[in-house]
Amino acid sequence: MAAIEILDLEKTYRIGFWHSRQKLALRPLRLTIEQGEVFGFLGPNGAGKTTTLKLLMGLVPPTAGTARILGMEIDDPRVKAQIGFLPEQPYFYDHLTARELLTYYAQLSGVPAKERSARVAAMLQQVGLVESAGVQLRKYSKGMLQRVGLAQAVLHNPKVVFLDEPMSGLDPMGRREVRELIQQLRSEGKTVFFSTHILSDAEALCDRVAVIHGGELQGVGAVAELTPQSQGKVEIIFCAPSVPAALTSMAIEARVSGDMVNAVIQQGQQEEVLDILHRERIRLISLTPVRSSLEEYYVEKLRPKESGKGAGA
């Protein structure tokens, strides 16, 4: 039994005061995701990723088509107990504290009363919100809200987890934590379906990816399958208030956000850069190979569309 079977799901929104105009958001989509897979749903903004997730969650009714999760039709109420969902830019009841919110969601998900508080405490621990668990969410930063969002998505121990752009808007540290969480879900044997427009995230995590653009599926397969072997680049993240001069002199482009620096370097430069960081006693956060080839695939697939659209408009 597949974890997720999307059977020609499609969506056309009706807009305008009389609902007379149509906006195509998703062309008939057919996809199967196996249990235990980490599946990336890739596409630029407006591609139809959120629409697909909302259809799967039953938040918007499809224009046509159906989908099954763990063999059950998505409108079967039993499905909801088996899935977790992190919406894009989640917003929660800001009059509640993180602990109250998670308790409320545990109640709604049918977590037995005896297990609730232990479950909530464990989740707060896992996403690192123990200290602020008693603070109302209106005082939370965006990164903290995203952690609450992740916690509520896996709180009730679902078998299939849907995450809509889980890393967008996070600092490098936050992104790394999300990656770790997804890795952990994988090791627990859960199925993860996440959307992103950031290629490196998909490359680092996914067993398979689907690329979608203009509401239309462009391709699906293992990252290696979609793309020939990479000519390596490496994304490096480290703790420093600014870019060390030694790196700037190597003509390395780096982005500073907070006390974190994020740079993409050639594999050949890796040794040298690590030496510099070591010498200057800079703490390394992560080092991830970036296969630029998926990016090339993506760009190649999507370019004709963009220009076609531009000419038509």
Binding site: K54, L59, P61, A81, Y91, H95, L96, Y105, Q107, L108
Partner: protein, 258 residues
């Protein structure tokens, strides 16, 4: 099913409390004490009449305003702020959510009215120095006011399921105003004839009959309340709210959550 409705209702109540809805009680307390003290000074026999009339009218108006202003946002605010996404992706059906929100708000109003009722009775004690049997109808009047809140909440919820908050507030308030005059409306309908008469009759009976819930004046005069009226009003409020809530659910069921 029941427990999920209760969880949603409790969360709605908690939100109302934390949004300081119950602070209206302060204004109410000031109003009722000022009234009690003032009438205590000026007159001899009409204090009971004034305190009950003014007190119960204030209970009703304060509550109706809360019912409308929170009622129109109960579901629409959750759609706008997208807090619904993480609720409806759980084993919560849309109708359970709507019903839970409804009971959360009516529960808040019941608690609010309870405290206001205490205020009214304290004021009554202050001006009359003792309770008497003639005070009992005040309890019935308060019960009818709570029934009125149920209907107003249901209407606000119904209108907000398909129109903007401002329009919903206007519609609900208009229906409340017209419904408070529905005795007069029915009278006019009886006098008119032909098509106009038929239309007016239909209108007069579709509009919620809020005047039936208003026994404030009788209560102030200490008139007894027939048991049959209590039964009829209870059934009427139940039926009317159920229909309005069902309408809201039917519309909400089909909605895209943007």
């Amino acid at each position: 099913m029941k427990s999920r409705i209760a969880f949603v209702a409790f969360n709605t109540f908690r939100e109302a409390v934390r949004d300081r809805v119950l602070y209206n009680l302060i204004a109410f307390a000031l109003l009722i004490s000022a009234a009690a003290i003032l009438v205590g000074e000026i007159s001899i026999d009409v204090e009971r009449l004034v305190v009950i009339n003014l007190g119960l009218t204030a209970v009703s108006l304060f509550g109706v305003v809360i019912a409308i202003f929170i009622g129109i946002g109960l579901v629409s605010k959750e759609i706008d702020k997208k807090t619904l996404y993480t609720v409806l992706s759980r084993p919560v059906r849309r109708w359970e959510f709507v019903v839970g929100k409804f009971f959360g708000l009516t529960g808040t109003l019941v608690v609010n009215t309870f405290f206001m009722a205490i205020g009214v009775f304290l004021a009554l004690l202050y001006v009359a120095r003792h309770f008497e049997k003639a005070d009992l109808p005040v309890l019935a009047a308060l019960y009818f006011i709570v029934l009125e809140f149920f209907v107003v909440c249901a209407l606000a919820l119904f209108f907000s399921s398909f129109s903007t908050p401002i329009m919903s507030a206007l519609f609900t308030f208009a229906l409340f105003a017209v419904g408070s005059l529905s005795d007069e409306l029915r009278g006019f309908a009886r006098m008119a004839t032909g098509l106009k008469g038929a239309l007016m009759t239909v209108c007069a009976y579709v509009v919620p009959n809020f005047s039936a819930f208003n026994i404030i004046n009788q209560a102030a005069h200490g008139d007894g309340v027939p048991g049959r009226l209590i039964l009829y009003n209870t059934l009427y409020a139940l039926l009317y709210s159920t229909i309005a809530i069902s309408g809201a659910v039917l519309i909400f069921q089909r909605r895209n959550l943007k």
